[in-house]
Symmetry: C2
Subunit: 375 residues, 2 copies
């Protein structure tokens, strides 16, 4: 079986263009992974997600372990078959959502006892159980089990949390074992403290993961603070492995993180905003609910080739969003995911051509327009 592998093809400053090879297909980096929380990228068929340029999906351990359960998905042939996506899938460890969504959780060194936010049923997650679930799902890129340190947090508590995550990372490696063709990523913690991040990176480096995530960011610290951490965090991690910034983000978050050496991203923003009537464009976000669109025959973005922009007016998008029609969610989600993949492709080209700083300057100017309307 083809092995999991990462190759850097080009660099521009700290930014890199690379390729992750997996048995289920290659992933060009910097890459954006659409989120398929409950075994579906909401309002999209997998073939449509693929057509936007997406090469890998993210799915959520926490949601799937509760419904329909990892054991059931395994018995049905695994997550790829279940959700009809034959490309690579990355699953998170469940650690983040168990903190943010579940009820009555109790964290000990061993793991986390919690109650389902859906039906109150009791569950347990630990490094060993998280590895087991992700294996049952058939995930191609498995995330080690960690605690996402809350923000803000004292340095003392941030350190204790990071140290537990590092012990959990070691247990994750041991539980994961040898699985050719599948990858295990470690997750750096340490909040906004450079020396804690350094120590976390060092401990992870000793465990020889296939890739490294930067965890504990995009949790309320703001873009300035996040970029300050990203000025050093990617460089603390092994240079020859993919670096993944979890849960990020808005287009300008992604651009700033790519400039600083990040290779992978995931975020619910493009799909979630699509369902609430937000179109994300080169010119910034456009609220299609706004009445000023109701007579507008122009597409959301005349240069976009997605089905929403190719076939419909802003007036139609406004109409179907206002009337709560499902096609509104379908079209805007499609557009937003298409825009994100176009952005990633543009970033890869800019890095390959050593034009990243010019690209970023142009990108920021365009985004500051706020809406194509105003041109």
């Amino acid at each position: 079986m083809k092995k999991f592998n990462f190759k850097i093809l080009n660099r521009d400053g700290a930014a890199r263009v690379g390729e992750i090879a997996t048995p289920k297909g290659n992933i060009s980096t910097p890459a954006f992974m659409p989120v398929g929380t409950a075994a579906t990228v909401k309002a999209m068929l997998p073939s449509s997600v693929r057509s936007t340029g997406a090469q890998i999906l993210l799915s959520n351990t926490y949601h799937l372990m509760l419904r329909p359960s990892a054991e059931r998905i395994n018995a049905l042939g695994g997550l790829h078959k279940f959700m009809n996506w034959d490309g690579p899938i990355l699953t998170d460890s469940g650690g983040f959502q168990v903190m943010s969504l579940s009820e009555l959780r109790k964290i000990t060194e061993n793991g986390v006892d919690f109650k389902s936010h859906i039906d109150g049923s009791k569950h347990f997650l630990s490094p060993e159980r998280s590895m087991e679930i992700q294996k049952l799902l058939g995930s191609d890129i498995v995330m080690s089990f960690d605690e996402c340190t809350p923000f803000p947090e004292t340095k003392l508590r941030s350190e204790a949390s990071m140290q537990m995550s590092m012990r959990w990372a070691k247990r994750s490696v041991e539980a994961f074992g040898e699985r050719p063709g599948y990858a295990l990523f470690g997750i750096q913690q340490g909040s906004i403290f450079k020396d804690l991040r350094e120590e976390s990176a060092k401990k992870l480096g000793q465990l020889s993961f296939d890739g490294y995530a930067i965890g504990g960011l995009a949790v309320g610290e703001g873009q300035d603070q996040m970029f300050k951490v990203l000025d050093y965090a990617p460089g603390q991690l092994p240079n020859d492995k993919p670096r993944y910034l979890m849960g990020v983000g808005k287009p300008d978050d992604i651009v700033g993180a790519v400039e600083r050496g990040v290779d992978m991203f995931d975020c619910v923003l493009p799909s979630r905003s699509g369902r609430t009537g937000q179109g994300i464009t080169r010119y910034g976000a456009v609220n299609l609910r706004n009445a000023r669109h109701k007579n507008d025959p122009r597409p959301l973005d005349s240069e976009c080739s997605c089905p929403a922009c190719s076939n419909y007016s802003r007036a139609y998008l406004h109409h179907v969003i206002k009337t709560g029609e499902i096609i509104g969610s379908m079209l805007l989600t499609w557009h937003n995911l298409h825009y994100y993949q176009t952005l990633m492709n543009d970033l890869r080209q800019a890095i390959s051509n050593q034009h990243l700083s010019k690209f970023v300057k142009d990108f920021r100017e365009m985004q500051s327009i706020g809406d194509i309307e105003k041109i």
Copy 2:
């Protein structure tokens, strides 16, 4: 411009196979028209609706006149462009929905004053206004404005209602005028009274419509009563024009009506049931919400080639319906519309091969199974 035209190609008993030619494309009959109430077939892209075999859509005058308004759609280039459907569109007259949905309506010989069920705004519909709206929309097959006689109703009131509809039909013809390439259909009323239906058909026949609908059925009278009317009503209408049974129906309603000489149908059932987790199959309706599907690796119907049946298990459909995921509505609507178009195609073949009675016998046996599960 190509004219609107209807040709009967084959017959088997009272049933006919035909072809309606319109400037926007041909329609093989017996035909089922998916319903695109608010300028969208709910949870479907137009290209997906087309891929099921649909050749014509129905859209609703009442809903569109309220939101986004016929004038706005006209200013945006008409309904076809607005909703991205380049095939023929039939619009109803608004008469049925104004009775069933609107508030504070007042019916006079002139027309109907009513308040919108959405925002309480005041509106007026009459034969002249209905023709104007349907013209503004760019509808290919325009329905004359009528009153759908409630059921049950006394013969005296049924006659009065029918007579008013016949006067409205005449006003509809006059208001419609000469519009080459566009068709106007008259609507037969008369409740369940054969002589009233006969008189209605005679009056409509004098107005030389391009087609004729059988109105006032599927309003609570039940299938037995409906079939009794259909034993004579289609034969009262001109033989060389399409006959359209409005708002029908379940697969066995359609089969029984085709046997009795009906050529066109529309119904929200396949799309609405799709959104509530009902799969409509050769074997009857399957409720995918039922827990017995949760471990079932089989497709909804192994002989169906729609995306839901080709790519997903019953377990997946159960999961996405239980979790309220939009893809559940998308997949089941697609399946149901695909099944309806397959049924219409099978009916056309059976009539062409003079095998309709055998087809109907087999169809009834299959449907009585109730669920593929039980085979």
